[in-house]
Each structure stands twice: as structure tokens, then as C-alpha cells.
């Protein structure tokens, strides 16, 4: 492997809007809101930014194509800007662009901003869009919950557990995230639920009920990154640095070959292996203090615990029910409420995950602050189980 990115880039400042049904705000307003917080946190002038990456998924829904809306909305000083899109991993992709630009020495200070304005569709759920001129001809008219629900039947078969037992663990995942979301003033869904509510909710895509699904939200999140040296020269004391940043994309094996059994995300396993190597993590369960994973659906979070090597194969349901991933557990997962309750404005989500790790590492998480964490992981998944992108980053306090 190349030398890797470990400790080459530091986060200078971050911002994140309140997520939710932001009837008051357009995509431009959300961008400004997240950027203002990040700029204030970074303690720099806007014109000190050398380059920008804009992450937005449904360009046809809000901002249109290109990164020009980023430059125009923030009145950036004619610097290079790039729009990136990698499905639900779009936010992480914007971060990756900025981080790599700094690491490469192409610029001193770079901006990553992810935004999504979903609630202008006028209806619940994600917008229905073409899958491509060939795929439209044969692929089933799947939805996100239906595509991820596939994991449940395949996982239950592989792990040899009943759907009832699996549902129980899935309900715990959602219950836990609602508990966490209630403590987060920026979260979309802030009302705790009971296990029974999760179990008895109306079915969306069997076996996923309403509470197994994350929120469809508006929001934006933003990071300003630089080198650790520049960050220190700007007066930063506690530094959060990037320890690893890895991405793995499906190459068609899951969608087209029988060797994949449908019960896990192959890409997460590959990206995790590379990220742990890059960060120098031998035992993730022991070394990581918290994780923010792509809990688009409860069952996704459940299988990811195994894909990330946090639970042994087949042990995720038990670990979940034992409270391992609760905020007071051994490996707090989604302490900010996750996609489930913080919400899922697609282009922003990867950066929102980073925002929570950053806040926790710097001890700024208020009511939901964990006890002195020093290493956290974000896992952002774009696509559906049989064709996707897994983007993993590890952030830690600089030594």
C-alpha cells in the first residue's frame, strides 16, 4: 500500500445544520448555515480556502449540476470547485476530495460541503428516478427499503436465526438510535420510541417497518481541512486528524455471481480491511471508541457490525441485544442518532458522521458526550446491497 493518509490532514473546522423537514430553507440556505458554523470554528477567512468539493446526490432535485452553486452561494473567490456524487456516500466523497487535495499539497486549506434538499419533492420517501436507459429495461422497480430488506432474509438464513429474533435485534437498533437522537438538538427525529412501537409499526418493505427506516431529511454539513502544521500555526490546540480514508466499490460480483449470499456488504469488508491497515488498527472493537455507520435501515446497521469486524460472524443480533452498541455500551454506535434519527440528507450524511466524531473527540457533544473518546470511525454506504460503494474514514486525536 501507498504510505497512506494517516495524520497528514487535520480538521480545521466543521459545521452541520439542524436536519429535518426544513420548510424554511432551500439548499443554498442550508449550505450557508453549515458553512458559517465551520468557518467560525476554523477561525479563518473565507478567502483563505483554496479549493472546494460539493457533495449533492439529487442534483435534479435542488441545485442542478456542477459545483457552481457552491461557489456562487458562498461567494468563493473563483477557486477550483468540484461536484462529486457517489450515491448515499456522496458526503464522504466530498470529504475525500478535500482531504486528498491537502494531503497532496495541492492546496493548504480545502472545503468539503455536502447538502441535500429532499423535502421539496412534496411527498414522503426518496424521489423516484431513472436507473439508466438499460437498467430501466430489466431491473425491478425497487426502492431503498426494499433493496435493503433483502439483507434480512439472507442474513437470517446464513445466521440460522428466525425472522422474529432478527426483528427483535433490529427493533433494538432503532430503539437505541431514537434514544440517542432525543439527546441531539440538531437531530430530525427527537422522540424516543419503545421496542414494541418498532416491532408493531406499519410495514414498508418486509421485514422493515416504519421504524426500521431512516428519516428523509434536509440538511447540510461542512468540513474545512488543512495540514496539522497549518492548523497548529493557526492556533489550534486539540487536533482531530484523518487516520484513514478508504473506499471500495462493487464490481458486479454481488449483483451477478452466486458467490455472494446476499447477507452482507462485500465492499464494507474490503474498505474496512484497508482502513484498519491504513490507520494501524489491529483490533477495531478494542481500539475504536465510537462508530457512526450507514444505518439507512436497522438491518443495515446490524449486518455492518459484522462487516466492520466489530461483532463476530453471526453474533451481531446478540451483541445488539446485549447493549454493546448502546451509548453506554462497549462500542457506542450512532450516538448522534445516526441516519435513523439525525436524518439522512444524502449529500450531507457522510460529513454529518464526521461532524459527530469530530465533536465527540473534541468533547463538544454536550448531553451526548462520551467519556474521552480518542478514535472514531465513519462508514458511509452508497447504493444497495448488491451494488454499492462503501466509504470508511477513521478520525482520531493527534498524538
Amino acid at each position: 500500500m501507498a504510505t497512506g493518509i494517516k495524520d497528514k490532514v487535520a480538521i480545521l473546522g466543521m459545521g452541520c445544520t439542524t436536519f429535518g423537514e426544513r420548510w424554511d430553507a432551500g439548499a443554498e440556505d442550508l449550505m450557508q448555515e453549515a458553512f458559517a458554523e465551520a468557518l467560525d470554528d476554523a477561525g479563518i477567512e473565507r478567502d483563505q480556502i483554496d479549493a472546494g468539493w460539493l457533495g449533492v446526490f439529487y442534483d435534479e432535485q435542488s441545485l442542478g449540476k456542477s459545483a457552481i452553486p457552491l461557489s456562487m452561494t458562498l461567494r468563493l473567490p473563483n477557486i477550483p470547485v468540484t461536484r462529486v456524487e457517489n450515491l448515499c456516500a456522496t458526503g464522504s466523497e466530498a470529504m475525500r476530495g478535500a482531504v486528498y487535495a491537502v494531503a497532496a499539497g495541492a492546496c493548504d486549506i480545502a472545503l468539503a460541503l455536502g447538502v441535500e434538499k429532499l423535502k421539496d419533492t412534496g411527498y414522503a420517501g426518496l424521489p423516484e428516478r431513472t436507473k439508466g436507459s438499460f437498467d430501466d429495461l430489466w431491473m425491478p422497480g425497487y426502492t431503498a427499503p426494499g433493496a435493503f430488506a433483502q439483507l434480512a432474509s439472507a442474513y437470517a438464513t446464513r445466521a440460522g436465526i428466525t425472522m422474529t429474533d432478527l426483528k427483535q435485534a433490529m427493533a433494538h437498533v432503532s430503539w437505541k438510535s431514537h434514544q440517542n437522537g432525543a439527546l441531539n438538538p440538531k437531530a430530525h427525529l427527537r422522540r424516543p420510541i419503545t421496542i414494541e412501537q418498532a416491532l408493531n409499526a406499519p410495514m414498508v418493505a418486509k421485514p422493515l417497518g416504519l421504524y426500521d427506516c431512516c428519516g428523509v431529511s434536509d440538511g447540510a454539513a461542512c468540513a474545512i481541512v488543512t495540514t496539522p502544521e497549518i492548523a497548529r500555526s493557526l492556533g489550534k490546540q486539540d487536533l482531530v486528524t484523518v487516520k484513514a480514508m478508504q473506499l471500495a466499490a462493487s464490481n458486479g460480483v454481488e449483483a451477478g455471481h452466486a458467490s455472494w449470499d446476499g447477507s452482507y456488504t462485500m465492499t464494507t469488508r474490503k474498505a474496512a480491511e484497508r482502513a484498519y491497515a491504513e490507520a494501524g488498527i489491529d483490533n477495531p472493537r478494542k481500539e475504536l471508541d465510537l462508530v457512526e455507520v450507514h444505518d439507512c435501515f436497522s438491518v443495515t446497521e446490524l449486518i455492518l457490525m459484522e462487516d466492520l469486524g466489530l461483532s463476530a460472524e453471526g453474533a451481531a443480533p446478540k451483541d445488539i441485544l446485549d447493549g454493546v452498541y448502546d451509548r453506554d455500551g462497549d462500542m457506542p454506535c450512532q450516538v448522534d442518532g445516526g441516519l435513523k434519527c439525525f436524518g439522512h440528507p444524502i449529500g450531507a450524511s457522510g460529513l454529518r458522521m464526521a461532524y459527530e466524531i469530530y465533536s465527540q473527540l473534541l468533547g463538544r457533544a454536550d448531553q451526548r458526550q462520551l467519556d474521552t473518546p480518542s478514535l472514531g470511525l465513519t462508514h458511509n454506504l452508497g447504493g444497495i446491497p448488491n451494488r454499492n460503494i462503501a466509504s470508511i474514514a477513521v478520525y482520531g486525536l493527534a498524538g
Binding site: D136, K206, A255
Partner: protein, 487 residues
């Protein structure tokens, strides 16, 4: 006319098949729902009728009838004819779509025959008069107004006959006669959805009882056949009419067989051929079969079965399809799925699914023909066929040969019942299907009751409507997985 008769004694039926959708609507469900408007329906509330699934039409049913035929050992047909009064396309060769779905070589002549209940038998007469072989498919799924007589009487189904002289005939055609006479007992104008139906007593007296006997008598005279020598008589008419015709013509009382009214309904242009397929499945070698088609005249045929008939069985045939039954208990759901109730399918259904016709044309082997690739290095069967093998341990370049996946079986790897997805038959059920031969396809399940799918369940492939572009009235077809009931 007599002098022009062709000798067709060496032409006949080489194979036959049938298709009846598994959804059956008990007529009592119609009567219970609509007797408030028409109390006379109560007396008709007996038996059941076959109803197409939301993703079936005459074209897909015809494909399934063709697939019900056993064509092993026969050369591909030179002609493919589709007879129907409910063709999905008024100007796009429906038979050409079928030829591609059946993976026939494109050096085939295709033709749609329509516009009469007699379309099926008229096409049969045409096929028998040709030198080359023909696969004749007849299918109909007529819409009927709620509470109408047709709603009670009709059913949806398809039949297939392979006609030729190049192989062992199951039944020889001894003679054929037609009369063309414009008796308008009902009609459906171009662009209309429903038939306009006139007095059935007039149809009976001036139509059935005059035109059919005239045609049949001419045929019997032509062929020098005694009426009493007929073993089976097929009249696509109500049971009482058929019994009376038998009597009038001097046929044996037992000659008219089951008319499928009780458990399928009258299947329009397909009906005479569907009953013929049923009769062939039941007949003994050496039997004489009188086949009559009716509509603005009549076609009459005399067939004689051969010893080869005993060696042939369709995959399911009429009886096998009738045994596969799924009861429709909701009259409203039936109406909604026939398009007679304007259900609010939500904002998602506003999705514009315009077809990129150029992309469809380039990929029609994959889409219509369900062609996948089989890697010659590692034998992995895959969809779609690509340049590089999908097997991660192979990834050979340019190693794949096209293979039709329509006959390949699979196994359910994962599934869901999706209530959010656009479907006129929610929940939309789909999942990963592991193919025999090592591939995987993410595909829709069809004819599948919620709660019935399990991981590992074996599936077979069905040609169905994928979706309809409602704005432009374009129907797209693709293949779906259906769980196999035998296992």
C-alpha cells in the same frame, strides 16, 4: 369453390400447448359485488373465470402457450402467427416480440391476425394452406364492463398449435371449410375498450344455428364423412347451443366436450383452439375431431388424430393450468388491475418511465429474449452478458457465449414485499435469484402471494409485462421469477 380445395391430408398438428392464468375470479364475487345493479347476475354466480394477472396480456399469454408446447425434435417454425382481438399494440408487430421472446431465429415470417372472434381459426386455416410450418398462437383477454354479461362469460387464456407436415403429425387435417358472413352480434370499434353486444337470441338463431350447420355440412360433404363418425366436436358456443348443434348435425350426443365455461370462461379468439388443445390432450389415436370457429361467419375443420398423439404431452396443457389456481377474492382489486378503477397509486407513480428505444433495440436480445452469457472458461451463467466474466475467480475476457435464460431455473437468495414501490399489485416482490450455473439476478417475482416466498425456493422464468409507460402507452416486457409449485 369446390374445385379450389387443397389437399391438406398430409398437413396437421405437430404440437400443441395452452396457457390459462392462475388467477381465477369466482363469478359469485362478481354477483355479490354487482347484484345491486343487476339482480339477474345472482343466477350467473356459479363457477369461476380466468383473469390475467396485472402483468399479463395477450402477448405474454401467447408466449407461455408456446412454451407449453413440446417442440423437441421439431425444426423451428417458418411462420409465427398471433391471433387475438386484444393485441397490446395496434401498430407494432406483436408476433415479432413473441418471436424474440421465444428466441427464434429472425429469419421467420411473423404476422398478427385480429378483428374477429374467428381470428384463431382463420389463422389456422391460413397455416394449414401454407407449405411451410407455422407456430400459431391465439390469445385473448377481453375487457368487460362491470356487471355485463361478458364479464361473467369471458375468461383470459391462450393456445398454441404447431402446424406443419415435416414431422410426426399428432393430428392430420382432413378438410376445412369457411363461410364469411357479416353478422354483427357484437363489435368493438377501433380504440374502444369494451364490446357493444346485441341480442344473444338473435346470435343463437341467425348465427350459431344457421352459419355453423351450413359450414359443417359442407365440410362433411367435402370429406365424405358421416356425422356420426365424429368423436369430438368443438363449438365455441354456450353449452346448450353446442348440444343443439350436435343434434341438428346428427353428431353423437357425447361429441361436444367440456367448453371450459365452468372454470375458465370464453376466451375469445383463443377459445376454439384452447378447446382443441384440451380435446387433443384427451382424445385417443384415430379420433375424428370437428373444430369450429365462429365470428362473422365460421371456419370448420376436420382432424383425425394419429398414433403419435399418445406419445405427446404438453408441459401442463389445459388440465395442468386449470389445476394451478389462485383465487381472486376481491372484485375491486380485479377491477383495479383491469384498469377499471382509478386507484391513487401515489406520487411515485407519476414517475416518467419513457423508454430509450435505441437502448432497447440494442439490448433486445437481453430484454425480450432474456439472453445472458455463459463463460466458456468457467461455465458461469450470467446476466447481462458482458465483456468480462463476472466470476471473481475467472474474469476472462470475451469468453461468453449467449445463452437464453428463459429455461434456466433459479433459487431465491433474498426477497422482500415492498409496499413503497410502484405496483398495481402491491406489495412489489423482488429479490436476488441465484441461477442454475452460478449467476445471480436481481429480479421481480410474479404470480406470488405475499407470505409465500422463502430463501432457497426454486423458481422458473416467466415472460411478463415489466411496466407500462402510461403517458405514452408503451408496454415493456421482461422476465420474472415464479416459484415452482411442483416442489
Amino acid at each position: 369453390m369446390d374445385g379450389d380445395r387443397l389437399d391438406m391430408s398430409e398437413r396437421g398438428i405437430l404440437a400443441y400447448g395452452a396457457y390459462i392464468p392462475q388467477r381465477r375470479l369466482p363469478r359469485k364475487v362478481i354477483a355479490d359485488a354487482m347484484a345491486w345493479a343487476s339482480p339477474s347476475l345472482k343466477a350467473q354466480g356459479k363457477g369461476e373465470r380466468a383473469v390475467r394477472a396485472w402483468d399479463e396480456d395477450s402477448l405474454t399469454m401467447a408466449v407461455e402457450a408456446a412454451r407449453d408446447c413440446r417442440l423437441d425434435g421439431l425444426d423451428a417454425p417458418a411462420n409465427l402467427v398471433l391471433a387475438s382481438t386484444t393485441l397490446p399494440f395496434a401498430d407494432r408487430d406483436n408476433a415479432a416480440v413473441i418471436a424474440e421472446a421465444l428466441h427464434f431465429d429472425e429469419h421467420i415470417s411473423t404476422l398478427d391476425v385480429s378483428a374477429s372472434q374467428r381470428a384463431g381459426t382463420a389463422a389456422l386455416a391460413g397455416a394449414l394452406q401454407k407449405d411451410a410450418s407455422s407456430l400459431l398462437l391465439a390469445a385473448d383477454c377481453r375487457d368487460a364492463k362491470p356487471a355485463s354479461g361478458l364479464e361473467m362469460q369471458t375468461g383470459h387464456a391462450a393456445a398454441a398449435l404447431f402446424i406443419g407436415n415435416g414431422g410426426p403429425l399428432l393430428a392430420r387435417c382432413i378438410g376445412q371449410r369457411s363461410i364469411s358472413r357479416d353478422l354483427v352480434d357484437h363489435y368493438r370499434a377501433q380504440g374502444e375498450r369494451f364490446d357493444y353486444v346485441l341480442d344473444d337470441r338473435w346470435l343463437r338463431d341467425e348465427g350459431f344455428f344457421k352459419i355453423i350447420p351450413e359450414t359443417v355440412r359442407a365440410l362433411l360433404t367435402d370429406t365424405g364423412t358421416e356425422a356420426a363418425a365424429i368423436d369430438h366436436a368443438i363449438f365455441p358456443c354456450p353449452k346448450r347451443v353446442a348440444a343443439r348443434l350436435a343434434k341438428v348435425l346428427g353428431l353423437a350426443e357425447t361429441a361436444p366436450g367440456d367448453d371450459l365455461a365452468a372454470n375458465c370462461g370464453h376466451t375469445g379468439a383463443a377459445h376454439a383452439l384452447l378447446l382443441f388443445a384440451q380435446t387433443l390432450q384427451q382424445a385417443k389415436p384415430g379420433a375424428k375431431i370437428l373444430l369450429v370457429g365462429f365470428g362473422q361467419g365460421a371456419d370448420a375443420f376436420l382432424f383425425e388424430t394419429t398414433p403419435k398423439l399418445a406419445d405427446y404431452t404438453p408441459r401442463l396443457g389445459v388440465a395442468g393450468h386449470l389445476a394451478r389456481r389462485q383465487e381472486e377474492t376481491s372484485y375491486l382489486r380485479y377491477l383495479a388491475q383491469q384498469g377499471s378503477v382509478n386507484v391513487d397509486w401515489g406520487h411515485r407513480a407519476e414517475f416518467d418511465n419513457r423508454t430509450a428505444m435505441t437502448a432497447f433495440y440494442r439490448n433486445r436480445d437481453s430484454i425480450t429474449g432474456f439472453a445472458g452469457g455463459r463463460c466458456q472458461e468457467c461455465c458461469t451463467v450470467q446476466f447481462p452478458q458482458t465483456k468480462i466474466c463476472v466470476n471473481p475467480d475467472c474474469q476472462a475476457n470475451d469468453s461468453q457465449v449467449a445463452i437464453s435464460l428463459s429455461g434456466v431455473r433459479g433459487e431465491v437468495k433474498s426477497f422482500t414485499e415492498d409496499w413503497l414501490a410502484i405496483s398495481t399489485n402491491p406489495p412489489l416482490q423482488y429479490g436476488n435469484v441465484e441461477l442454475e450455473g452460478g449467476g445471480n439476478i436481481f429480479m421481480e417475482f410474479t404470480d406470488c402471494e405475499p407470505g409465500s416466498l422463502t430463501v432457497g425456493a426454486p423458481v422458473e422464468m416467466r415472460f411478463r409485462i415489466k411496466d407500462v409507460d402510461k403517458r405514452r402507452r408503451f408496454t415493456r416486457y421482461f422476465w420474472k421469477a415464479k416459484t415452482m409449485q411442483e416442489s
